[in-house]
């Protein structure tokens, strides 16, 4: 016990696994208190229409129906949710739990039916008659941005909800002087996060205490608590996110159904539950990026970037989502577009446009899947013009180690990260030269084989000086850790984060165990509960390892000092002589040793053993704020082969090298990368929410919306750079989203490379066999 065991950095088995493997997890839908009522929603089947009348009389007569509510029944019970912002030229769009006066997308909740079972509630949907007066659809974002377009939100006076420009240098002059210019109109279609667990909410109201408890499939229980307290005007609200079956951003906003079960539980005095089905998930959970980007890159004759311009139109759907606003996704496309490269002259303009489709919201990678797709395609297009290898043009333009910290053209600061090192490492692990040689042989044999590279940088673990979404008024930049050794010697650590697959019960326990000197299995992590800490927002934006890991480190260090001070009294030495490890305080080189359990007993129960004036409770709360955050980067290299007859694309090899700073648990890091890459491959090749010109969803089941299976996803290699962030306590960087950022670009470049002999450019994702067929057919014309 002379040296403290290293726990951070080990592939510890996850502490949450035994319950999840045996069917003993506790997801929201697993809980059904006695007397629970169930809700079903009649949703809009119109994209944009005025509600003329709603007749609920038949539904009210149906078996088991307890209540039927429309927006009119909610007047005075709830305030609308409004995502405000400090951004100029921003128009908030109030969100009501049920549509008032008009509907703005197919799937918007209009009527809530409450019944004794989910079956009976759904039966009664047949008894609702809504008369709509159809309004002009607002489906195409470019048309919707036109001055004479029909308005979705009359109060806003425009469908352009956000407008923003980033400008550095004299971009027009620099572009005009460029020896090489490449430009294109790129399109990245709408997708959906598609967690396997659908959204589910259970509200219980204690009338005696006037207190509301919500169990929710949410990534942001603290934010939900704060907003519910406000809009429902309730003194006590507790929001619990228990085991949550994946989120990926789709569970990181406040939802209408979530508010509604709370109103109903209070109104009806019984627990009220809503369990969404897959159709409801596909048609009403916040969707991911939907963007058109016209971009141009100018370079000198050696391949050095001179100037970059972009015009982005983001289709944000019907509402500016709470709390992130409609600026979250499209604004980050322009703010991250310059990527890990030196770009002296830049102009990025963005318009976020409302359309009569479900709202887009945060989705894994936010903005950067699109910005990386565009920038990395431009880099490859430029490399081809210059006769450079894709690897060489990137090495030539990366911000180098000497240049850190580097302020990008949009104002983001890259603190320090291994841009070049990731590319070199990924190419080495991929055997880039060997694979290029093999590709040449395959091509000579008539096979369509392509190799693609994508590099990116992202800001993670963002602190209070930067908003997680531009102009958003709520603070997401701090995290609180409360550590306790209770009277039994048990260690608990409570946070505002909300793990939903990331394994934070394990990684945060690793940090606490090492910094405090506790046994890993003896540390219990409390998360996903708004009552656990005074302020917490949740898990999103690759923040939890950095912010909660930092807060855990600070609190554990302070608590260890307390343990040393208290133990010193009991062991008859000075605090400086005491060491703490493995759940014991001890004096090295002696037999003086006391367990946490004995220590806790002495502190709390055997009150005479420590002088009253020296006695301290064994708990610590620390707040951590990384202020700006830190830079995570990565390079992906992949090889694809396209069947020349069916145009089916097979991803054959995939290698990632990433710099996520100090690694807490390498197995969990690898798992995050694999899963995020799989979602990125899905976005690149399969996943698309298709809406017709009437605003109707055509991919409304998992038969039509294709999620990759184990057959479509290749084995994925991951190389870790062994570094530490210079900017964060603990040296951690966030890494949960990165795979989804790099994969679409890498796949797009590989597909473009495979089709190079046909002189076809890839500018649209997902690239499906149908799209390749059309591209080839159009070329032949």
């Amino acid at each position: 016990m002379q040296t403290r065991p290293k726990i951070i950095g080990t592939a510890a088995k996850r502490l949450e696994d035994p319950r999840l493997l045996t069917g003993h997890g506790s997801y929201v839908d697993d809980k059904t208190p006695a007397g629970t009522l169930h809700v079903a929603f009649r949703r809009s089947d119109q994209s944009h229409a005025t509600i003329l009348s709603i007749d609920c009389s038949e539904a009210l007569k149906m078996p088991g129906v307890v209540a039927v509510l429309t927006a009119r029944d909610l007047e005075g019970l709830v305030k609308p949710v409004v995502a405000t912002s400090k951004m100029r030229d921003y128009h908030a769009t109030p969100i009501y739990p049920l549509a008032r006066d008009k509907v703005r997308y197919v799937g918007e909740p209009v009527v809530a039916i409450v019944a004794e079972s989910r079956y009976l509630a759904e039966d009664a949907l047949e008894g609702i008659a809504i008369e709509f007066d159809t309004l002009p659809n607002v489906v195409d974002p470019e048309q919707a941005a036109a001055p004479d377009a029909p308005l979705l939100h009359e109060d806003a006076g425009t469908n352009v909800i956000v407008r923003r420009e980033f400008l550095r240098g004299d971009v027009d002059l620099a572009m005009a002087a460029a020896a090489i210019r490449v430009n294109r109109r790129f399109r990245f279609h709408r997708k959906t996060p598609m967690a396997i667990e659908t959204r589910t909410y259970l509200a219980e109201y204690d009338q005696g205490r006037k207190s509301l408890q919500l169990h929710t499939t949410s990534q942001i229980p603290g934010i939900i608590r704060d907003v519910l307290t406000d809009i429902l005007d309730l003194p006590t609200v507790r929001v619990v996110a228990p085991d949550v079956g994946g989120g990926f951003g789709g569970k990181a906003s406040v939802y209408q159904e979530e508010i509604l079960v709370c109103i109903l539980a209070r109104k009806l005095g019984r627990p009220v539950k809503w369990t969404g089905d897959r159709l409801e998930d596909l048609s009403s959970t916040s969707q991911g990026f939907d963007e058109i980007v016209e971009a141009e890159l100018g370079l000198d004759e050696q391949g050095r970037i001179l100037a970059l311009t972009a015009e982005v139109v983001g289709d944000i759907g019907a509402y500016s989502i709470y709390p992130w606003t409609a600026g979250l996704e499209p604004v980050q496309v322009v703010s991250f577009l310059p990527g890990p490269y030196r770009v002296a002259h830049y102009r990025g303009r963005v318009r976020a446009v409302a359309t009569s489709k479900p709202p887009t919201g945060p989705y894994r990678g936010v903005g950067r899947p699109t910005s990386t797709f565009v920038m990395e395609r431009l880099m490859d297009m430029a490399a081809q013009k210059l006769g450079l290898d894709p690897r060489e043009i990137r090495l030539l333009n990366f911000v180098s180690q000497e240049e850190f910290p580097y302020k990008t053209a949009s104002g983001i600061v890259w603190d320090r990260s291994g841009f070049t090192e990731c590319l070199t490492s990924a190419c080495a692990a991929f055997d880039y030269e060997g694979q290029r040689a093999a590709q040449a042989v395959a091509r000579a044999a008539g096979r369509w084989v392509g190799i693609g590279i994508a590099s990116y940088a992202e800001l993670t673990g963002i602190g209070s000086r930067i908003s997680a979404s531009p102009g958003m008024p709520i603070n997401t930049g701090t995290e609180t850790a409360t550590l306790k050794i209770d009277s039994t010697g048990a260690v608990t650590a409570a946070f505002g984060v909300a793990s939903h697959g990331q394994g934070l019960e394990t990684t945060l326990a690793q940090v606490v165990a090492e910094e405090l000197g506790a046994r890993l299995a003896a540390v219990t992590i409390i998360h996903g509960d708004s009552a656990a800490v005074p302020h917490g927002t949740g898990t999103y934006a690759s923040r939890s390892a950095v912010l909660a890991g930092g807060a855990a480190t600070l609190a554990a260090r302070a608590l260890r000092e307390k343990v040393e001070r208290m133990s010193a009294h009991l062991l008859g030495v000075t605090a400086a002589e005491v060491m703490v490890a493995d759940g014991f305080a001890f004096v090295p080189g002696s037999d003086k040793k006391i367990s946490f359990r004995e220590l806790a007993k002495a502190v709390y129960s055997e009150v005479g053993r420590i002088p009253a004036e020296a006695r301290e409770s064994l708990e610590e709360t620390k707040l951590y704020d990384p202020f700006f955050g830190t830079t995570t980067c990565s390079t992906h290299v992949t090889q694809v082969e396209i069947d020349p007859e069916t145009y089916v694309i097979k991803v054959q090899r995939y290698q990632v090298a990433e710099d996520c700073g100090r690694i807490i648990n390498p197995l969990i890091v690898a798992g995050q990368v694999h899963g995020a890459v799989a979602q990125g491959i899905g976005a690149a090749l399969f996943e698309e929410m298709v809406y017709d010109e009437m605003g109707q969803l055509l991919t409304a089941s998992l038969v039509d919306y294709l999620v990759p299976t184990a057959v479509e996803i290749p084995s994925i290699g991951v190389s870790h750079l062994d570094t530490e962030s210079p900017s964060t306590v603990g040296g951690f960087r966030g890494m949960g989203e990165g795979g989804t950022i790099g994969a679409p670009a890498a796949i797009a470049n590989a597909v473009a490379d495979a089709l190079n002999h046909l002189n076809i450019l890839i500018d649209e994702l997902p690239v499906t066999p149908e799209r390749i067929f059309q591209l080839i057919k159009n070329k032949e014309k």
Binding site: P18, L21, T22, G23, I196, G245, H500, S701, L702, V711
Partner: protein
């Protein structure tokens, strides 16, 4: 929908006699009537595989069966895998999922485990391609499948050890 039917079936070795509506889905019967909430409903249209259970020796989607169709059947759910269902006595497949980090949010995991249990009983699973093909009826959104394939691969090895 007032008609009800009596059914008798064995779930995880326990015989149940229940009265149910003919339209009650088997997954809802397991979760709500028997309180076996380990089986999860992910899509309710037979694509995602989260609700996979074993009925009379074959893996089945419990969202595509009515409870009344299971009358007289022998059913195993994820709760049957560990000895006495205890978190302290994982079976080798569960241990392998844990060692390889073959689960993240855990929502698809019961279905993955039951499908894998069926595959391990019936197929050689000599290559990773065969394992991936066998798992292709179960969606996972967290892991990218890599660690799940490794977990099943290890379980195949253990199966061969125990057969020697």
């Amino acid at each position: 929908m007032s008609a009800v039917m009596n059914i008798k079936l064995t779930v995880n070795g326990v015989v149940y006699e229940k009265t149910v509506e003919p339209r009650l889905l088997l997954v809802d019967f397991l979760r709500q009537d028997l309180h076996l909430t380990g089986t999860h409903a992910g899509c309710e249209h037979g694509v995602c595989g989260a609700c996979t259970i074993i009925v009379d020796g074959d893996s089945v989607r419990s969202c595509l069966m009515f409870a009344v169709q299971a009358d007289g059947c022998k059913i195993e759910t994820v709760e049957s895998l560990a000895r006495l269902g205890s978190v302290d006595s994982l079976n080798p497949l569960q241990e392998s999922f844990r060692s390889h980090h073959g689960l993240q949010c855990g929502f698809c995991t019961p279905g993955m485990l039951m499908t894998s249990t069926d595959l391990l009983k019936k197929y050689p699973l000599a290559t990773d391609e065969e394992i991936r093909e066998g798992l292709s009826g179960n969606l996972c959104r967290c892991t990218g499948y890599e660690h799940i394939v490794q977990a099943v691969r290890t379980a195949v090895g253990q199966r061969e050890e125990s057969e020697k």
